[in-house]
């Protein structure tokens, strides 16, 4: 019996870990949707590019700075991949979406799919089509808590994700830029009339979302030890589901949706059938949308895309 309970806790923990990563990606979907009502399908690819930034930083460390303490490596990975992805996010916004600001929503949506193909193939050409191995940068330390155990990297994923979520909530609530973001989400026209630079707000939103996805990507790559140019697709799809689940446009909703999705998948795959793993995610989405069409924390009905 107690053994059964330990397995349950272990499964729950596995689900929470991947759920945290989903949540980090989902935040970018939800923020961009909140501000310009665009489902940015290239977001999953930014997550993947973030993982490749991390891979590159690790490669630099293992070839030129051998023996650097792991926390320096970790902080550099996260910081540099956030920086790189933020620049990438802003560039994509400028090149691909800004010229379409006044076009029909569908045009921007299809453009985002195009951007996604572009990024995938660009990474394939640069890094090759093979699975890339990420060397272990985090020491394999396990913490035993009477029966179930978790590893240092899982702890790092938790702490980083939760810290970033708190930071984001604070940022959106209390800073000028955050307030401007909320104003734009509420009514972009009115915000413009109030003297808010909508273009700047949109750019910052893309940068923030991309940086969060990059953190997700870096942690994801380090946790699983291998990355590939098409990893963004499935992770992006799951995170999008999480964002819709929590209520697209809502920041706490994306966090809750991600964690919930990870846990449901983990428990479903562990106790019912791993073949049906994706089915659980979408059944959950279906049920929630039947009873609450705007998602768990969504306020208004999302527009149809």
């Amino acid at each position: 019996m107690s053994n059964q309970f330990e397995i349950f806790l272990q499964q729950l923990l596995n689900g929470l870990t991947i759920g945290m990563v989903y949540a980090l990606i989902a935040l970018g979907y939800t923020m961009v949707y909140g501000v310009i009502q665009l489902i940015n399908f290239a977001h999953g690819e930014i997550f993947m590019v973030g993982a490749f930034f991390a891979f590159t930083v690790i490669w630099l460390f293992t070839s030129f700075f051998v023996g650097a303490p792991f926390w320096i490596v970790l902080v550099s990975i996260i910081f540099l991949s956030m920086l790189g992805s933020a620049v990438l996010g802003a560039t994509i916004e400028k090149v691909a979406y800004k010229p379409l600001r006044n076009s029909p929503k569908l045009t921007a949506l299809i453009t985002s799919i195009g951007v996604s193909f572009f990024l995938q193939n660009a990474v394939m050409l640069i890094y090759g089509s093979k699975e890339q191995n990420i060397p272990e940068v985090i020491p394999m330390v396990r913490f035993d808590l009477g029966g179930f155990s978790f590893s240092l990297i899982q702890l790092i994923i938790f702490v980083t994700a939760v810290t970033l979520m708190f930071f984001l909530t604070w940022f959106v609530k209390n800073t000028r830029l955050g307030k401007a973001m909320r104003a734009c989400a509420e009514n972009a026209e009115a915000a413009k009339l109030m003297g808010i630079s909508v273009d700047k707000v949109i750019r910052v939103t893309f940068m923030l979302g991309s940086a969060l996805a990059a953190v997700g990507g870096s942690l994801f790559g380090i946790y699983y030890g291998s990355i590939n140019f098409h990893d963004g697709y499935l992770a992006g799809l799951k995170a999008f589901t999480a964002a819709v689940l929590g209520g697209i446009g809502s920041i706490p909703g994306a966090m809750l949706g991600g964690v919930l999705l990870g846990v449901v998948e983990g428990l479903g795959a562990g106790y019912i059938s791993s073949e049906w793993k994706d089915v659980f995610a979408f059944v959950l989405l279906g049920i929630i949308l039947i009873f609450k069409p705007s998602g768990i924390m969504g306020e208004n009905l999302p527009e149809k895309v």
Partner: protein
């Protein structure tokens, strides 16, 4: 480069439509495999083998008259719809005399009807699904073994040689992975072994800890995986982190040195794999091919030698036919007798399958796939 080929195909198509069949200096060999998308890594390996064969032949001079060979590579993204598009493109081009491809069984099968209708010879370097050659197309040939040899060979090895009785099976739900795992499952049970569990996973997924936590509680002596190596590498790593110690085994899809790199040599130690044929590194007659390949492209892909062999069979047939005529080349491919390939002599049976292609069993030892034994199809009478 690819757009260049596309333009070339299009251009020759236009010339064909205009009925201006000029005297040509090139005879073309179509090649289709996944060159982009999530299986690009294997497709590119086969393509490099094929390119090498064409270059080897061109160095020797014109194949007949003043005609040289040209490879026309197309991409099917391991998607049967794209495979059909590529096949139609090649079939419409009169300069293309035959096709090497495709890679994935699902694509090879979908495209085979088009080549049959166009009376073009098709030689697959790697599709192992046995049903493809049972469609009755006289244009279809394959130079590798099939899964009704590979799966049972693996099951027989686990049951008789390793003496294991309780195993678990995981597959990736694809035509190839599930097909292979089912063959293994059937044979292992018919031998009297117990299959504790048979689960499916999704290709491209990264987190298998929930499934592995469950499999661990069943205490299997070995876990067989029907699928390709990126998933197996994650399965092995995650199973070891969970304290699941049972050895893993896979088919030709996991036979790739990258697997060992991804899992790290110490964790991959003791993993078994079957492979179509034996390791080219261990064959003295393949030494020249392996050395030249690795000098050119780096590490040899697990199917590169098959790409090389398939193209060479076709080139030899073109040489014997002596003209750009699909029927004549098809006839000559069928007349192939004791062709000397990297993995030994190649002969085709009436279905177009290579005769007597054996399966090799390998085990990871000291960070390398070590050849353990060869299973010949005639040894596998159920």
């Amino acid at each position: 480069m690819r757009s260049f080929w596309k333009a070339a195909v299009l251009f020759s198509g236009i010339i064909f439509c205009m009925g201006a069949g000029e005297k040509q200096d090139f005879i073309e060999i179509g090649f289709v495999a996944p060159l982009t998308g999530d299986q690009a890594y294997v497709g590119v390996g086969v393509l490099q083998g094929a390119q090498m064969a064409v270059e080897d032949a061109n160095i020797k001079g014109p194949i007949f008259g003043n005609t040289k060979l040209k490879l026309v590579p197309l991409d099917d993204q391991h998607n049967p719809t794209q495979a059909v598009l590529a096949a139609n493109k090649l079939a419409a081009d009169p300069d293309v005399v035959g096709v090497i491809g495709h890679f994935n069984s699902s694509c090879t099968k979908a495209a085979s009807a088009i080549y049959h209708e166009a009376r073009m010879v098709q030689i697959t370097p790697a599709s192992t699904n046995p049903d493809i050659s049972r469609q009755g197309f006289d244009t279809f040939f394959r130079i590798c073994a099939t899964d009704d040899v590979q799966g049972p060979a693996a099951a027989d090895f686990v049951f008789s040689k390793l003496g294991l009785r309780k195993i678990s099976i995981i597959d990736d739900k694809t035509t190839y992975g599930k097909g292979l795992a089912d063959q293994f499952d059937k044979k292992f049970e018919s031998l009297g072994g117990t299959v504790l569990s048979h689960d499916g996973i999704t290709q491209g997924e990264k987190d298998f800890t929930p499934l592995l936590t469950k499999v661990k509680s069943l205490e299997p002596q070995l876990i067989f995986f029907g699928g390709i190596y990126p998933e197996l590498s994650l399965l092995i790593k995650q199973s070891r982190k969970l304290g699941l110690r049972a050895p893993w085994m896979g088919g030709d899809g996991v036979f790739d040195v990258t697997l060992i790199k991804l899992v790290t040599p110490s964790l991959s130690e003791g993993t078994y794999s079957t492979m179509l044929g034996v390791d080219p590194h261990t064959l003295p007659e393949a030494k020249d091919f392996v050395t030249r390949y690795e000098a050119r492209y780096g590490e040899i892909g697990s199917f590169s030698a098959y790409g090389y062999d398939a193209v060479n069979v076709l080139i030899e047939a073109i040489r014997r036919a002596g003209k750009n005529d699909r029927e004549a080349v098809l006839r000559e491919v069928r007349n192939t007798k004791d062709f000397g390939g990297v993995f030994g002599r190649i002969n085709f049976d009436e279905k177009g399958d290579a005769v007597g292609k054996s399966v090799g069993i390998f085990k990871v030892e000291n960070g390398k796939f070590k050849f353990i034994e060869e299973v010949k199809p005639q040894e596998l009478i159920v």
